[in-house]
Amino acid sequence: MAVAEIRNLTVRYGNFTALDDFSATIPEGCVGLLGPNGAGKTTLIKTLLGFVAPADGGGSVFGHDIRAEGRYIRQKIGLMPEQDCHIPGMSAVMFVAFAGELAGMPKENAVSRAHEVLEYCGLGEARYRNVETYSTGMKQRIKLAQALVHGPRLLLLDEPTNGLDPQGREEMLELIRSISHGKGVNVLVSSHLLKDIERTCDEVVVVAKGKLRASGSIKDLKELHETPLDVELLEPSPAFETAVAGQGGRVVSVEAYHYRVVMPGGDPAEMTGRVFQAAVASKVQVRAVVLAQRSLEDAFMEVVHE
């Protein structure tokens, strides 16, 4: 079942079109919303929450219309915004409990749940401190805690590792991964940091210039159409390139003694056999042969610049 369906959504800020006839389906699980700065990721999140009115098109979140049922959507969603945000004059536990009350929790439940969530987010020791005195990393955690307090079915995380040091980033990614896997919470992580997305998500939606560029599993996105092989030789060998051509294949790229080759035939075993035949013919030793995969960064750059 899809978490959200977006149909031909157009959002404009004055004359600037932030989302242009955007259609996508957000599946269950942990989904990365990828795109360069200014691609329209945050606008999409704002529109799903009802902060921004679409100029055209529409969509639904958990079956609720984004134009008319914003309250119902927001009750099922937790938002961790990109910017620092808190309510002045409150301690962490008061802040998170109040966020729960706003979501509709009875006060007693909200308070006990606030304690639980703060423990989970690693702020147990600092729960009675005023949020204004928190460090950047703690502020990121408290934003996550207030988003989680009412047990949302979908968590929207906008640049969750912004401003974190390497250790804080690791901890935040671990938290996100832990929430989004096996806890019944769907997560949509918006980020331009591909490594963060790769660490936490299973699926991605790629946005660029307000349009959908690609969507699907990260594995599918990284897969190459021609199924090339990465061959590691003992030493560089021009003769190997000739022998590959002799087998009906071609060398796509060479980096020192690493060759990326494309061989005819779709069966990996057959293609690997041809590589070994070319190696025998050129009298070089093969150290390794693997099916080539591109990095998410390569895939991202390709779809963004299409």
């Binding site: 004055g14 309510i87 409150m90 706003l102 509709g104 989680l148």
Partner: protein, 328 residues
């Protein structure tokens, strides 16, 4: 020999710290303004200055009641006392309330300055709107919740002493016409105790929402309170120097500012210019109070107050949003 089992300390925390989804009740996503109002009040009552100004605002009532109680005791000791007889013959009870109300207005302004004038600006500065509005609360909930929070606290400051004095008067001065002189006094007081808090809360919401810095918002609120006051008093003095008659539309300029509207509402509602203290300390003689300006035209002052409230709400409504949307 059997080995005695040793108790090993628990590895890790006692509590289960893994994430669990909340499965408890959630109320339907409506009427979140009341939760916001309660939290606004909860945070505001932590400010000591609010309590200080709030309690100080009762000074006139306390003083008048103290003297009244003394008078009553002396009257019961010697009913032949001429001065007391004259006092209770001439007393106008609505002037007691107007004097107390007018004396509390400046403290009410200070209370507003303490709890309300910078409140939404502080929220703007801390991006709190993102928290409020990402939950099932709307802009209306937010504004209404903030307004209600301010209003109820200011209503407490303005209304509690008024009600206590009314109760005391009802119990102690019925024989002196407290109840019969103006049977509508109680409903009038109920309206009066709401008017000034509603006006000040609306202005605080309107001004505070325009700023991202609480101090600037507070300064702007103070400016909006005092600058028109100075202008209107100066203009009124000029007009009065040319026309000694205490009437006419130009004389309404005296009330053309926030405190003036509050004063005008009080005078028009209770239909008096005050002067309870004059009677009290003047030996029970009704004296002309030269400094007192007569009540304004009721519809004019109410219309002006409602206009100010509407304008403030309009500006707050336009400005408050979860995110900055440029060019929309």
């Amino acid at each position: 020999m059997s080995e005695i089992p040793t108790q090993t300390p628990a590895q890790g925390p006692i509590a289960d710290l893994t994430y669990r989804t909340y499965t408890g009740p959630l109320s339907p996503p409506v009427y979140r303004w009341w939760a916001i109002a309660k939290m606004t009040m909860r945070l505001a009552v932590k400010k000591k200055a609010f309590w200080g100004w709030g309690i100080t605002s009762c000074w006139n009532y306390i003083l008048m009641l103290g003297v009244l109680t003394l008078f009553e005791q002396r009257a019961s000791d010697g009913p032949e006392n001429e001065m007391l007889k004259r006092f209770f013959e001439n007393v106008q009870w609505n002037t007691l309330f107007l004097d107390g109300y007018l004396a509390s207005l400046f403290m009410l302004f200070l209370c507003t300055l303490t709890i309300a004038s910078g409140n939404i600006a502080a929220d703007n500065k801390a991006n709190a709107l993102l928290v409020y509005l990402s939950k099932p609360a709307t802009k209306s909930d937010y504004l209404l919740g903030k307004w209600t929070g301010f209003f109820l606290l200011l209503l407490g400051v303005c209304g509690v002493p008024m009600l206590l004095v009314y109760g005391y008067g009802l119990l102690s001065f019925r024989q002196y016409g407290f109840l019969t002189q103006d049977p509508w006094l109680f409903p009038k007081l109920l309206v009066l105790m709401c008017a000034a808090p509603a006006l000040l809360s609306s202005v605080a919401v309107g001004i505070s929402s325009q700023f991202n810095q609480p101090r600037l918002a507070t300064a702007a609120f103070a400016g909006a309170y005092f600058l028109p006051m100075v202008v209107s008093y100066v203009m009124f003095a000029i007009i009065r120097s040319h026309d000694a008659q205490d009437s006419g539309p130009l004389f309404s300029l005296y009330y053309a500012h926030l405190a003036g509207l509050e004063e005008g509402i009080g005078k028009s509602l209770l239909n008096t210019s005050g002067g309870f203290a004059n009677l009290l300390f003047g030996g029970g003689r009704v004296r002309e109070n030269d400094a007192a300006i007569g009540p304004p035209t009721a519809w004019m002052v109410w219309l002006a107050a409602l206009g100010v409230i509407a304008v403030c709400w309009f500006f707050a409504w336009r400005r408050v949003r979860a995110v900055e949307v440029i060019g929309s």
